[in-house]
Symmetry: D2
């Protein structure tokens, strides 16, 4: 994915069609099909063979640009029925937890697979993502979302409650994106290798407080709590200024490291 693309657009490619200041469409190119947008109709056949970055014009004369889908667009366009993680948080999670090529990571819950996509992309062919979910419909949806971007083979999808623990041992990292991570810290400790990275995201301070208590109780160390604010500007050279409104809160990020259990603390 992302790197398997040819220089020109091929039938079967997952493409992103973006209009200026408009939400982009992400879809698979199929001969004979058409795309309906608010700014006019576009035939798939007219896109096949074009170089990436080309301009295409709808039947209403409106311009679009043809891109390989970006990770950001994929995440924000993920078909979903739950809250998703934002790119601002995903980027910081990856850098802080050291998620990159070759890493093995457990994620729970899977949700619609937004974060799963980013993790599967980052760990590469030699890493792996184990993702747990208890709701069958989310499990299914996430699987489909990962297949669409051809990263399904880097992910093991498990329809399973984590109350009784994870199946894996000695993984590099565990990320919990569920309302009660504090109920599973002992299980995390079992799965994580010593020195491994734990992460979670939580919307309320009440949840953060509960999680801090459990992390301390289970000898996690190097605990960090933070939040990331992302502010966009109107990118105009003669009237440069921040946008009027912004996202004020997605969640608090909590990180910790699993260390040797020590008596004299």
């Amino acid at each position: 994915m992302f790197t398997h693309y040819k220089n020109t657009v091929q039938e079967g490619d997952l493409v992103e069609l973006a209009g200026p200041r408009h939400k982009s469409d992400i879809f698979i190119l199929i001969r004979g099909e058409t795309l309906q947008t608010h700014r006019g109709i576009i035939k798939h056949d007219d896109l096949i063979g074009k170089p990436w970055g080309s301009q295409v014009i709808s039947h209403l004369g409106k311009p679009f640009i043809l891109f390989r889908p970006s990770l950001n667009s994929l995440i924000l366009n993920t078909k979903r029925n739950t809250q998703i993680l934002y790119p601002k948080d995903i980027g910081f999670i990856q850098v802080t937890m050291g998620i990159g090529p070759g890493i093995n990571i457990i994620e729970a819950g899977t949700g619609s697979g937004g974060l799963t996509q980013a993790l599967a992309f980052a760990v590469g062919k030699n890493g792996h993502v184990y993702t747990y979910e208890i709701r069958p419909e989310m499990h299914k949806l996430a699987k489909d979302n990962l297949s669409l971007i051809k990263l399904g083979d880097r992910v093991t999808f498990k329809l399973k409650d984590i109350r009784n623990g994870f199946d894996e041992k000695n993984v590099d990292a565990v990320f919990l994106d569920l309302p009660n991570p504090y109920d599973y810290i002992a299980q995390v400790r079992e799965a994580l290798k010593l020195g491994g990275a734990f992460g979670a995201i939580l919307p309320t301070v009440n949840q953060v407080i509960k999680l801090l208590i459990e992390l301390n109780r289970n000898s996690f160390s190097f605990i960090e709590v933070c939040e990331i604010l992302l502010r966009y500007f109107k990118p105009e050279a003669t009237r440069l200024r921040p946008t009027d409104r912004m996202v004020a809160h997605t969640g608090y990020l909590i990180f910790a490291k699993s260390i040797e259990l020590i008596d004299n603390k």
Copy 2:
């Protein structure tokens, strides 16, 4: 790197030794050597053979934890004589520009190699980083910093002015971390494949304004300007609150995409 470590600490490993609330030390394990810290002396020999995540005690009785170095620690500990990029910005740059396994990216200038480390880690064995620098001493320093973490083979270091252009064509992404990126936008356009991602970081609004003018002049599109604020909390369950002070500004992030040159704009 990061994934080549054994389960126990080996001679020759790059290790991170971290004390609670203290800056960590990152160094290579060599038999017979000792590490001097403000919290006591530690013999390298005493670390060899220990499991990662173990506790070790200095001759003053102070505890340290033994970690595989994290990317964050590496970046923040990078031996340097310039301003470095912060993890909060690096994470967002990677997610926004789609930097992951298999990607080819140009970076200029190299500086002390802080961002180079993160990029080299992220692109994996099948990707590559081409990094340009005009100051010989920085060129040398960055090379050494990358060798230390065994990622030098994923990077081509160039001691070369980019005024006359880059040697590469059709790369996936170009990131400029220098004071006058606006002077090299035509060169970026030449090197970047259509649909490819451009990024830059700049401390002052005056520089951002100049860059916006040049990006528009060179038909870049989907231009975004933003800034990221990272706020840490004191991670105490009974007294949870943000820290007293924080970094107020590292730089403005500017992103854009190279698209087909179009007459009727």
Copy 3:
């Protein structure tokens, strides 16, 4: 105003009727009239004689609370056809520029009188606000807005271009809320007493840059540029968290002091 109210609601009072989580209505009580709201109809006669802070019920059975109008509500409810200053900025302007009882301040432009209301309230009976405006309809609107809250006698409204200077000399403070304050800095200097406070608010960095140039050219000193971010929380004890979205930008605040003209700078 604000202090002339009796303990119970009187005919002719300006009242604020607020429903939980709904925008409040501010209006004058007139016998025989009715108020139409989305949550039902309320008769003015039913409010007269009630204590402030009372609950009243609409014909649909929906509850409202009866308040003396707060300054914040007045400003946010100001009948207007322009952008207004936000309470977060007004409060900091007042404290930074020392606006309080007995102060004489010039304001330009008047706009719809949102800031004028706050200034007139703050300077008390012994202070005074001189406000300049060139658009007759705004001049008229602001006058009406100030009459409504019975603070018109503390304000001199001038329908006049400030290009040729202000009529007043030796005032304590001058605040410019117009797009090109940098064109009037010499005029501000003429009107302001030595040691007096200058302030302005501007939406774009380009305007701030121009203003800084002119302030330096006119020997203003102790120049400060800042911005204020206000973040609200959902005030729920069991689920405390910031709101999802917030105002990202109202304007940059610029403050300076007029000092003795000095040759050797």
Copy 4:
């Protein structure tokens, strides 16, 4: 105060002497005395008779500017042995709670009197501040601080525990700046008039949670929780950018209104 100054500096005046980029000195002018600073010595006699905003030169040739003390400088220079409220918070408190000329407000605890100064200035000659403190040394210090700026007659200082309630009834506003405001909400309700404004500032989320519980239990309504971030810029026209570091947190602000007790909530 602030408005009783003549156009030229008089013996006995409280003056502020400010150097560029240096903390200012605030002191009373006394014939024959000298001021020692890091940038040289200045004789009080050389200041008397000068216009406000004048430049004066120390015996080392360093320039200073002579100002009437600003409220901000006074607050930040307040002789103290506790944490003080910051101007960014004070301004918003005043606007939100409607603190202005003629208002009666209760404050507890007094602390070193930083907020007391701002309140006493804002309420003018016709308003009044009742301030409670249980530590005799703080009570004394605050009294001295208010005398210094000649606002002591607008303040009633009480050395008294508020556990048994406040002596005043029907005040316009109550502000609690102490670690456990949640222990005194019933007392606040007794003292505040219906429709009156309550405010508090608290450093930790744990305290905010407790306060929210008590406000709800005591039928306070229109409860708001927020925080204010103030970011300064380096005010240079050719290199405009935020400062490197900023205050990340002073406290959470909590506001509420006392309304009629209602059964069916």
